[in-house]
């Protein structure tokens, strides 16, 4: 069934703006959800999906705009308000209490009571009835934590149904489910939809979007990009809607990738069948000296997972690594650093900078870690000055606290930190996300320059143009598989988008 415009909207969000200190997370976004539809909310990291959901479920207060539920305008001061209005949410990480029974989790706060005393027998009977409505029959007195995540999610949905929710928000519910569990969840979703529940669905698996949803809304950089019936948006168009076009300034940069790389020697780092159960299917990657390998794919495709395995931040359970043709053991970041591999993480704030230290201290940190805590770094001022200058960190004051710098300059400092350790391979995960165009261009230029000088780089970015411009080869990831490897000098962004959307190898969309 397809929701058409005659069906009255259950949720109407108009001109929603949410600001965090210094950032507009959402800017004037409109969003409409109708009864009896599955509506997918699409967008890359930082597009504002989760912010929009949190506005709808009462976690965040909106700065401006209106939310109307069933035609009545509402102000949510907390999740309880949203629930009272009939909006329930099932999060990716199931937000239930594992220490309580299944039945209790469903009924908590709605137990049947006789004179203030909970009647457990009828409470569990009620819980079982709600579960059976979703086609699930389990012992409601068993402990929630003894069941699989998939089942816990169904329990969470049952809980939503206890309050007779009109709107069900499913925030990445499928990310840890296997194929058959996804099927069961979809069965439940279809059933609820047919009963008139409006479902807001967020996932990063494109196949699932096309399989289950009726309409979709695309966000990018906190703004509404498009809203369409799913049948009217081909995959390639959806991907380009999500990724967007880069600005002219960047397009003006010449392609660094035209350069050829000498691949006669053994690769600096070579991974064979490297994988980790539940996060990445086995992948082969070779990185040669002076080469930039791009990793392209959408959010959740396994890009970051691959980077973390290469660096030893997560432990691989299959495959092996070789460096310069010799077997290498990289199971911890320490091993990686000893092998002169550097990794700049995707989450700059949480895993990169130390906000309360100065720029200089942040730069020296990498070097200090490498030398060990007891040995003094020789001439730290010179090292700091050299790299700040080389990367053009502004303001050029090494004693300023790093948290006072812009995102772009923080990123340059991070790059400086790793370059100071003289790595032979550097892994950059989303080094240009959320930074201004100027800094972006600086970083891209620096990467190209370094690789010309012999440094090997693994470059991960959700901006496909950037990946193509910088790298010589592109490893394409989708749904935690490597779906191919392309030489970047003879393809365009459109080709890459096509490849991500319809590769010839058909794979199931989630990991078993």
């Amino acid at each position: 069934m397809t929701a058409d415009s005659e069906v009255p909207p259950v949720v109407e969000m108009r001109g929603i703006t949410i600001e965090f200190p210094g950032v507009k997370a959402l800017e004037g976004v409109d969003f409409t959800l109708r009864a009896g539809e599955v509506h997918s909310l699409m967008g890359e990291n930082g597009a504002g999906k989760s912010t929009l959901i949190k506005a709808l479920t009462g976690v965040y207060t909106i700065a401006s705009g209106t939310i109307a539920v069933s035609g009545v305008e509402r102000t949510f001061r907390g999740t309880a308000d949203a629930q009272a209005a009939g909006i329930s949410t099932v999060y990716q990480e199931v937000n239930l209490c594992g220490n309580l029974s299944v039945g209790e989790n469903i009924m908590l706060g709605h137990e049947s009571r006789v004179a203030g005393r909970i009647d457990w027998r009828s409470t569990h009977r009620e819980a079982a009835r709600h579960l059976e409505n979703l086609g699930v029959q389990i012992d409601t007195r068993s402990l929630l934590s003894s069941h699989s995540i998939a089942l816990q999610q169904l329990v969470a949905i049952s809980r939503a149904m206890v309050t007779d929710s009109k709107v069900l928000v499913l925030d990445e519910p499928t990310s840890s489910l296997d194929r058959s569990e996804v099927e069961q969840l979809f069965g439940v979703m279809r059933d609820l939809r047919d009963r008139g529940v409006a479902i807001l669905f967020v996932t990063h698996f494109l196949d699932q979007v096309y399989e289950i949803s009726d309409r979709l809304t695309v966000l990018r950089n906190g703004k509404l990009v498009a809203e369409h019936p799913v049948s009217e948006v081909p995959r390639a168009e959806l991907i380009s809607l999500m990724i967007g076009r880069e600005l002219d300034e960047l397009q003006a940069l010449s392609r660094a990738s035209v350069r050829t790389v000498d691949r006669t020697d053994a690769p600096v780092l070579s991974a064979t069948q490297l994988g980790r159960k539940g996060s990445l299917n086995p992948v082969d990657v070779d990185v040669y000296e002076g080469e930039v390998i791009g990793i392209a794919g959408l959010l959740g495709s396994g890009r970051t997972e691959l980077a973390r395995l290469l660096y030893g931040a997560d432990r691989a359970d299959t495959g092996r690594l070789e460096m310069h043709g010799r077997p290498a053991r990289i199971t911890t970041p320490r091993n990686a650093i000893d092998n002169r591999i550097a990794f700049s993480s995707e989450d700059r704030r949480a895993e990169g900078i130390i906000g309360d230290l100065t720029v200089a201290e942040n730069i020296v940190l990498g070097l200090q870690a490498k030398r060990g805590w007891l040995r003094k770094v020789r001439n730290p001022e010179r090292v700091v000055a050299e790299y700040m200058d080389a990367l053009g960190v502004t303001p050029a004051d090494p004693h300023r606290l790093i948290r006072e710098l812009s995102g772009g300059n923080q990123q340059k400092v991070l790059l400086a930190r790793w370059l100071a350790t003289a790595p032979q391979l550097i892994i950059l995960d989303e080094p240009t996300r959320g930074i201004d165009i100027g800094a972006k261009a600086d970083i891209q230029r620096k990467v190209a320059e370094l690789s010309n000088a012999g440094l090997s780089v693994v470059f991960i970015s959700s901006e496909l143009e950037e990946v193509l411009r910088i790298s010589q080869r592109v490893v394409v990831m989708r749904d935690r598989h490597k779906i191919g490897e392309l030489a970047s000098n003879d393809i365009e962004v459109a080709d890459l988008v096509d490849f991500i959307a319809h590769d010839t190898i058909k794979k199931p969309e989630s990991v078993a």
Binding site: T79, N95, C97, N99, L100, G135, L143, S148
Partner: protein
């Protein structure tokens, strides 16, 4: 993921499996009961005259105040918090009560005052934790110092209690069963506290919310449960129990002394933990805490039977606590792996 989604599986194993999956959270309590039984048997075998009605009765009667404190502490620990103030609050309310009685206030007024003062101290800790984001450890430590200081402000020396009603609580020996099984009103009071608390935790929304908050506070919030109110109330209950323990302890010793109950908060926590309540919250029972108190009392009795120094009580409790905390870690680690 091992649990299949397929509906109804009934096999021969089903009953056993269902029993375990439903009762898993009682396992630590069973373990405590097991230890208690082992200690009884060992002490009886060693001393020959340990398991007498008199000794067993005194387990309850000598530790009534501790049992009352442990009940209140169980509420707080179930929410994932801790209350270090209970020993000092017990001393303070005891001093306050004794001095008010000396000044001629009727006991019918003094006992409610003691309970309200206890509740107020608990509320103070709860407000610090909930609204000022202070760690429960620190907030209750502050309350502990405050209460101890207040106890000294009431009087620097011990105050004898001559009130008939208070003394009746301890001096009356009711025949509980044929033989020398006896119980005092303070013992009844303590058992009543356990029963009421067990019912509240098992059969009221407030009680279940305590478990939900301790299991996953974030989830409880997102489920729309009244998290703030519940946590505040847990500390208030602990405070009220400390006030009640003040009454019981004053009756027990027949006097109040500002240095009473030093270190009692730690004994209380030890009893609760030995009784199978997880320090991380969300799992445990007041009945377990009662067993924990009895384990504590048995160790104390056994050591006085031996004629050894009471410092051995502390050492044994320490060792036992260590074992239980390690067992708890294993249980928690196993449930995380799922």
């Amino acid at each position: 993921m091992t649990t299949s989604l397929s509906p109804t599986r009934t096999s021969g194993l089903a009953f056993a499996r269902r029993f375990i999956s439903r009762r898993i959270s009682w396992v630590p309590v069973f373990a405590a009961v097991f230890i208690l039984v082992v200690m009884f048997v060992a002490a009886q075998a060693y001393f020959g005259n340990f398991l007498t009605p008199r000794v067993i009765s005194s387990l309850l009667l000598d530790n009534a105040y501790l049992l009352i404190l442990a009940v209140g502490m169980t509420f707080v620990i179930l929410t994932g918090g801790i209350d270090l103030s209970v020993g000092a609050v017990m001393a303070f309310t005891g001093m306050l009560g004794a001095s008010l009685l000396r000044d001629g206030l009727p006991v019918a007024l003094v006992i409610p005052i003691m309970l309200v003062v206890g509740a107020a101290m608990g509320l103070g800790v709860g407000v610090l934790v909930q609204y000022f984001g202070v760690q429960p450890f620190i907030a209750s430590l502050a309350a502990m110092f405050a209460a101890r200081g207040l106890a000294f402000m009431v009087s620097l020396s011990s105050i004898k209690v001559e009130d008939k009603a208070i003394l009746w609580l301890q001096s009356t020996r009711l025949q509980a069963a044929p033989g020398s099984w006896s119980i005092t009103p303070t013992g009844i009071l303590a058992l009543l506290t356990v029963v009421v608390a067990a019912l509240v935790l098992a059969y009221t929304r407030f009680g279940r919310t305590i478990y939900a908050v301790g299991g996953n506070e974030q989830s409880a919030k997102l489920m729309g449960l009244p998290v703030v109110r519940t946590k505040l109330l847990a500390y208030v209950i602990s405070g009220v129990c400390a006030g009640l323990a003040g009454v019981a302890f004053t009756a027990y010793t027949g006097a109040s002394y500002p240095l009473n109950g030093i270190g009692t908060e730690l004994d209380t926590i030890a009893a609760v933990v030995i009784g199978g309540t997880l320090l991380t919250g969300g799992s445990g029972y007041v009945l377990g805490s009662m067993v924990g108190v009895f384990v504590y009392g048995t160790i104390k009795s056994a050591i006085s039977f031996l004629g050894a120094e009471q410092s051995w009580t502390r050492i044994t409790i320490g060792a036992l606590l260590l074992v239980f905390v390690v067992v708890q870690r294993i249980i928690v680690a196993r449930s995380r792996r799922r």
